[in-house]
């Protein structure tokens, strides 16, 4: 039987095959899936995030680790659901209307999944109406908006205005990011948070979900 702590190492080093094998072995040995998630998987992704922020890891390492995490998550998620375990929170993510860039958005989505969040990815070129519709499905949803262009970042404000118009601004949190975005811009448009990288976005989402 594999040692569950090997799962931490497998995710940290992005070894998806090993992550899958160790997860399966642990589940067969009746290890609590919730314990696997909390003690091995999420700490591994937290360490990945730390290494990324101090330039020890770069985007390839981030994505490879997130894939390993996802491999294990797919095995344990049904069991967690059966046991009634709740995800860290619900995030609806998308690139705003008029913008087709998806790399940063995908990266943040992967890291959020790795951080234990339920992630609904609406894709690119997402209208304010689609964000609103998704936010209405569950109170406390975090809307994560991405934009790479100075000409499309204004759509972030449109999403917040649409939430206000619908009278549900207090039912959802809005976080924003992308190359032209700054904390100043987030403050100007009344967003709940801003992050300049995928790892910090997870910490931000945890803070808002907490």
């Amino acid at each position: 039987m594999s040692d569950p702590s090997e799962l931490y190492e497998a995710i940290l080093h992005g070894d998806a095959r090993k992550a899958e094998a160790v997860t399966k072995a642990a589940l067969e040995a009746k290890v609590d899936p919730s314990e696997l998630l909390q003690k091995q998987m999420i700490p591994a992704m937290d360490e990945v995030g730390k290494r990324f922020e101090c330039n020890e890891y770069f985007v390839p390492e981030l994505l490879i680790a997130a894939r390993a995490m996802k491999t294990s998550l797919e095995l344990i998620t049904p069991l967690l659901a059966e046991a009634g375990a709740e995800p860290a929170g619900r995030v609806v993510i998308g690139t705003v209307q008029g913008d087709l860039h998806d790399i940063g958005k995908n990266l943040v989505a992967s890291m959020l999944e790795g951080g234990g969040f339920q992630v609904v990815d609406l894709g690119v070129d997402v209208s304010p109406e689609k964000f609103i519709e998704a936010a209405k499905q569950k109170e406390g949803t975090i809307l994560a908006l991405s934009a790479l262009l100075t000409t499309t970042m204004t759509m972030m404000k449109a999403v917040i205005e649409a939430l206000e118009k619908e009278g549900i601004r207090d039912k959802a949190k809005v976080i924003i990011g992308g190359a032209p975005i700054t904390q100043q811009y987030a403050d100007e448009i009344g967003a709940d948070g801003y992050s300049d990288n995928a790892s910090a976005a997870v910490a931000l989402a945890r803070k808002l979900a907490g």
Binding site: N55, L63, L100, I103, T150, P180
Partner: protein, 289 residues
């Protein structure tokens, strides 16, 4: 460093570059002009001008002032028709030795920007990495989609712009960061360029990519301390120039060179082209680790 046959569109006067944005925010036109002069002296063939979502009047003012600081032709870089119009109206070909400006960029969904050709003939960068599906703009995921987008946009340009020829077209087939390329974008791009190259009706078109985008999110150096980004970008140029790539939106500071087939960056690029999914990332990681 210059490569024969490669024209650099100097990329630094762009509102999305943080240091340049600070100049825009401070209204420091003199320093913006200095960026133009610097890129001119370092060999840029064109000077890109992107003001973000600032007023069209600023584009007009900058175009006039930059043309007073350099005789290189300009690339008016905006998706906004009003900003594009202001830049093109202000542009004086006589100050650039008679050379037309570039309009960066025209996509299928913004094809009406070609009407601006009447007020100032330009060389459009045609965004052939996008296609229109059900009235919505979507990224091209295959070489065939990229090729179809090319044929359609080049045809629109030749039909709508009297006197325009293939030589006036610059295709942008879209380059994505290799460090996150799990969806075969590099393979799509190279295959599309091969297909375009083989089409006699498209003979003479130019091609450009935003080359710095290829290596974003990667470390600056390999584990042995040698430069990573210029090596991988040079490998891309070595692979793509024989297929018709003859322009880049890029940095005049980067030391580009054509590489031998056994150069480690070249070997890495070729293996990435043969790989798929996460194996591409693994191969890139192996190159710099």
């Amino acid at each position: 460093m210059a490569i024969a046959g490669l024209t650099i569109i100097g990329e630094t006067i762009n509102d999305s570059v943080p240091s340049t944005k600070a100049l825009f925010d401070a209204g420091d036109v003199e320093e913006l002009l200095e960026l133009a002069r610097f890129q001119d002296q370092r060999g840029a063939g064109y000077i890109d001008v992107n003001i973000g979502s600032r007023p069209p009047e600023l584009m007009a003012e900058l175009v006039a002032k930059i043309q007073g600081a350099t005789s290189k032709p300009l690339s008016i870089d905006t998706p906004d028709p009003d900003i594009a119009r202001a830049g093109l109206e202000a542009y004086d070909p006589a100050r650039a030795g008679g050379q037309a400006p570039i309009l960066n960029s025209v996509s299928a969904l913004r094809a009406d920007m070609l009407e601006l050709y009447r007020i100032q003939p330009f060389k459009p960068i045609l965004l052939v990495s996008e296609q229109v599906v059900d009235g919505q703009s979507r990224p091209c995921h295959t070489a065939a989609e990229t090729y179809d987008a090319t044929r359609s946009l080049v045809a629109a340009f030749r039909e709508q712009c009297a006197g325009a020829t293939n030589d006036d077209c610059i295709l942008d087939p879209g380059i994505a960061p290799i460090g996150s390329d799990t969806e075969g974008n590099l393979h799509r791009l190279i295959t599309a360029m091969e297909t375009i190259r083989a089409d006699a009706d498209l003979a003479g078109v130019h091609a450009s990519v935003g080359l710095s985008n290829f290596t974003v999110m990667l470390p600056p150096k390999r584990a042995d301390g040698s430069p990573l980004k210029s090596a991988l970008e040079s490998a891309f140029l070595t692979r793509a120039m024989p297929l018709g790539l003859d322009m880049i939106v890029g940095s005049v500071k980067r030391k580009y060179q054509l590489l031998e087939p056994d150069h480690p960056a070249m070997v890495c690029l070729e293996e990435c082209l043969k790989a798929s999914g996460f194996d591409v990332l693994m191969r890139v990681r192996e190159f710099y680790s």
